[in-house]
Symmetry: C2
Subunit: 339 residues, 2 copies
DNA sequence: GTGAAAGCGCTAACAA
DNA sequence: TTGTTAGCGCTTTCAC
């Protein structure tokens, strides 16, 4: 591949001049510029961005880390990030951690080696270790969706506590009392918050919560949702409604229920956080929707601002509101609908 | 961030020696190695991969270009690629073209600038231009899913022609005669092949095909599927079955049908290519499934082989078999089931 | 076993 | 307006 040197020689100018026309610097005579432009074309010149980054000490790349790239919530988030990044001529590189802390660590390391300008990360769990590595090297990053204790960084999330309350209040209004909650790992902030919202809504209405009705899965994925639901079904007294902490868990829940010959919502109501599938022709779940696209967009915005302002300033903490969307997975419970 | 120079100075050795221990070269005294290792840790040294790439003239990065990152088919493909790449310590960077040729061009350019070692691309359309750019710079790449006329490159796809025949034969067996086909753009090979498969299966059974029953969309996405289906429904004689060329079109189709008060499969049968949602608890569509994961894995395998063998050798052309999966979107048609 | 030095392709003072 | 030069952080040849 042709280098800037080749171009300079052929155009009969110095490499500095070529560099100037490549970067649209002023103070280049129109005639010279044209000549260089011609040679550029003639040689099919493609600048080596790595060499440029090395010299410029900045890559114009931001890295994004998500726990599950097959989850609509994260792909939508990603799209928000990409759009904002694109507006600012930044390249986005993506890592999929699969909810695995060691994968997270590997990706973070690779991204640091590539000297990305900044990162946007949905952290896998509550261990500060991986994030501290980023901080130690003073690379700006923003946390999305999940907080991590002891890490003071920009954060964009949604009001999980309030969202969970919306969902639970809806179930209570439908007449449900025996409500079970399927949570993701305790270590992840969003799941703790959703459980707390659940508990508070129940407390407000003086409805007792059976301890065995709160189940924590190691990962918020459908296989785990399936297993936990089977456990619920094995109880002598079963819940009449299940609140799954995310979309994937809910899918596992419904799978287990169907397999047990139970109809949703006739026999049991099911609710969850987030949409399950962007492609669905008939969204099924009554759920609380987070503004995923906006969360990504804003996260990128904050990161970019930091990149431009030389990383200064206090951490931003942004909390977005959620919305309850009633659909087909919930129905009146045994207590009947309250007025 | 600490550089190799800092490490060398602090360890009292030359940068060459540091480089040697970083790359596990032999001929380093164990004592020296240990000392360097200690300093490496002490300074939290993270090698600059861009500088390394520049010197080594290879980045160990491969780029992947897909048309729609929200489509399960492509995310599954991607996962296959990633797994194989990971085995070989390659970093994958992703571009989402949104079926837009100009986005494709932009990404290809960015990837070339970053000097990726190779690319895996699901091309947007049948224009050679973007791919010729890659070829001109002699960067290895493999085409996946879609072929491009006039481009002789490694290719991994599936037997769309045969897959379409499976689907159509199934519909015919169910007693359907008035079968409509919703295709993606003519310019994309897979859609041409699926239409041809459709036509050949109909011809084999001597069933006439109404020209107005073959509709081409500009993009294979649900919005277009919706529009085309509305067009079908406006005809005086409607089809009794619709063959959507991919999963997203099919979702649009069902949406339109539901909106028109039609039940699938009672009033109309619908089939398509590929699964619609990896997360579904009750896959709905009778469809032909391509081995997406395997396609990605094999594509990466071929690319990596080429990277190692110095790019030599004739182009591989791999065609994988598809599988018909009968589910809930098809039912017997007016002619009744054939024996 | 170890180091000096050249070079990868580019940017950015500084001079002219 | 243009060119010279010194890096950016690393690899690698060659000599010791």
């Amino acid at each position: 591949m042709a280098t800037i040197k080749d171009v300079a020689k052929k155009a009969g100018v110095s490499i500095t001049t070529v560099s100037r026309v490549l970067n649209n610097h002023p103070h280049v005579r129109e005639e010279t510029r044209q000549k260089v432009l011609d040679v550029l074309r003639e040689l099919n010149y493609v600048p080596n961005a790595n060499a440029g980054s090395l010299a410029r000490k900045s890559t114009s790349i931001i890295a994004v880390l998500v726990p599950d790239i097959t989850n609509t919530f994260f792909t939508t988030l990603l799209r928000g990030i990409e759009d904002k990044a694109c507006e600012n001529e930044l390249l986005v590189i993506l890592g999929n951690t699969d909810e695995d802390p060691s994968k997270e660590q590997i990706y973070i390391h690779k991204f640091l080696e590539r000297r990305v300008d900044g990162l946007i990360v949905v952290p896998v769990e509550n261990r500060r270790k991986n994030l501290k590595i980023i901080q130690r090297h003073e690379i700006p990053f923003v946390l999305v969706d999940r907080r991590v204790e002891g890490v003071d960084a920009d954060f964009v999330g949604s009001d999980n506590y309030q969202g969970a309350r919306l969902l639970v209040n809806h179930l209570i209004e439908l007449g449900h009392r025996d409500i079970a909650m399927l949570s993701g790992p305790k270590e992840v902030s969003v799941f703790r918050e959703r459980v707390e919202g659940f508990l508070s809504a129940m407390r407000d209405k003086n409805i007792p919560v059976k301890p065995e009705f709160i189940l924590y899965g190691q990962k918020p994925i459908k296989e785990i949702g399936y297993n936990l639901t089977c456990r619920l079904l094995s109880y002598k007294t079963r819940p009449t409604a299940i609140f799954a902490a995310n979309n994937s868990l809910a899918v596992g829940t419904v799978t287990a229920l169907q397999q047990a010959g139970l109809n949703v919502p006739r026999d049991l109501s099911v609710t969850c956080f987030d949409d399950n599938d962007s492609n669905s022709f008939k969204p099924f779940f009554t759920s609380v929707i987070q503004p995923a696209y906006m969360m990504g967009y804003v996260a990128a915005e904050i990161l970019i601002k930091r990149l431009k302002n030389n990383k200064k300033g206090q951490a931003n903490k942004i909390l977005m509101q959620t919305e309850l969307v009633k659909r087909y997975s919930t129905a009146p419970g045994p207590a009947g609908i309250a007025d």
